[in-house]
Symmetry: none
Subunit: 247 residues, 2 copies
């Protein structure tokens, strides 16, 4: 068995279902499987990948949750229409959103420091004038290319707990699960600006290129603002997508 997917080739910590899921997703996205085309049956995949049915189903289940495939009992599993956007009524961080769409996201921490909160931060986080805040600067990578500079500001009682932690992952799950802060919603504001020095340096941009700037103020469930961020995306390599409904 395990002819298609190598079982645990020494240093292959990735679970089998993850390998299969990612491969199927790649093949769906690159057109190997057309929209509404039937995927091989679970039984066939068992043979192809040399794994048991439960493993195949686990991979398909994830793809189903992502909205990439749908199943019909007695008929098979099919590629669904290529919806560009799905999870958008939901507040998600960059990494969460990208992971949900099958991209490989990572972050590099540039700095974390305590400073006197700038005016905009004071207003956003509802601080006292002159109060300190914690600033976290990160660069976001997508498929190993820098796409976003992220400047986050936290109130002291939350931000001080971040020193010494690994901030290269997603912050939202960390706030929720590690800090026990239930997140509520976020106010988002988007505009377009020209690349400044910082953007040119970290995003490898030339002078005069366009930047998609996002201001995001995230609240906890009680409505207290807890995270104010500036996100500067390369205009040529990122789109902010979402879906809204009428009434």
């Amino acid at each position: 068995m395990n002819q298609g997917i190598h079982p645990m080739a020494e240093h292959s910590p990735l679970p089998l279902y993850v390998q299969i899921r990612d491969r199927l997703r790649r093949e769906i996205l690159d057109g190997t499987y057309q929209v509404h085309e039937r995927l091989p049956s679970e039984n066939e995949m068992m043979g192809v990948f040399g794994v048991s049915r439960i493993t195949i189903r686990q991979a398909l289940r994830d793809l189903h949750n992502e909205g990439l495939v749908f199943s019909a009992q007695g008929k098979g599993t099919f590629v669904s229409k290529p919806k560009a956007v799905q999870n958008v009524q939901r507040l998600e961080g960059f990494g969460e959103a990208m992971a949900a769409q099958g991209y490989e996201a990572s972050a590099r921490v540039l700095s974390i420091q305590q400073l006197k909160a700038p005016k905009a931060v004071v207003a956003a986080l509802d601080l006292q004038p002159g109060e300190d805040a914690i600033e976290v600067k990160r660069v976001r990578y997508l498929n190993r290319s820098p796409v976003c500079i992220e400047n986050s500001y936290f109130p002291m009682d939350i931000g001080r707990r971040m020193f010494g932690l690994d901030l290269s992952g997603d912050i939202f799950p960390m706030l929720e699960n590690l800090f026990g802060i239930p997140l509520g919603g976020a106010d988002i504001s988007l505009d377009a600006i020209l690349a400044d020095d910082e953007a040119q340096q970290y995003l490898n941009l030339k002078t005069g290129e366009a930047i998609l700037r996002v201001e995001r103020l995230t609240h906890n469930r009680d409505g207290r603002p807890i995270d104010f961020e500036y996100l500067c995306y390369r205009g040529d390599s990122f789109k902010y997508q979402f879906r809204i409904d009428r009434k």
Copy 2:
């Protein structure tokens, strides 16, 4: 077995994992389990519900996808956060949104014409290759300053009815009230680009200024795409704002 959950009590077509999932969800929402409280372990639940572990895990998997619980290997499964508050963002046109905020908005129609739909429009509106569409080009003004160029594409059956109408107002209410088309939702995509000739001309921009570009595909309530638009906003005079919630 099956002491807690009755197996298939005559007319109980609900799968066991659905019954367990729904019961756990109810208990989470009504406070039987507090936020961040540990749920019984999978092993314990096997005994309580009298089912196998795979069934328990299937129930927990669904709750996990709903964002109600999260797991930590070696520790247990925990309640993540209370119920979902769906604050749906309302789909509004430019004029509607501006009027709601007390601004004075107007529009000038540059052109309306029938043409062979460009590729992106064909894909968005789900047309046949080579099919015609109606294009409406407008400039949007806020307090008498131009802030947005709006290129809208409609399928023929809808667009042809627009000739001769006054298009200087809002299109969405027109579609709903005059045409009797109930609107559903819209997929929105934002990025940043540099001003092109058209933008420079109509928005009074210089070369090399940043543009906030919005692609908006609006559907009717049945899900049929009926309006595909490119909106190009001056980066320095307009912000796109909205609010989203975390599940």
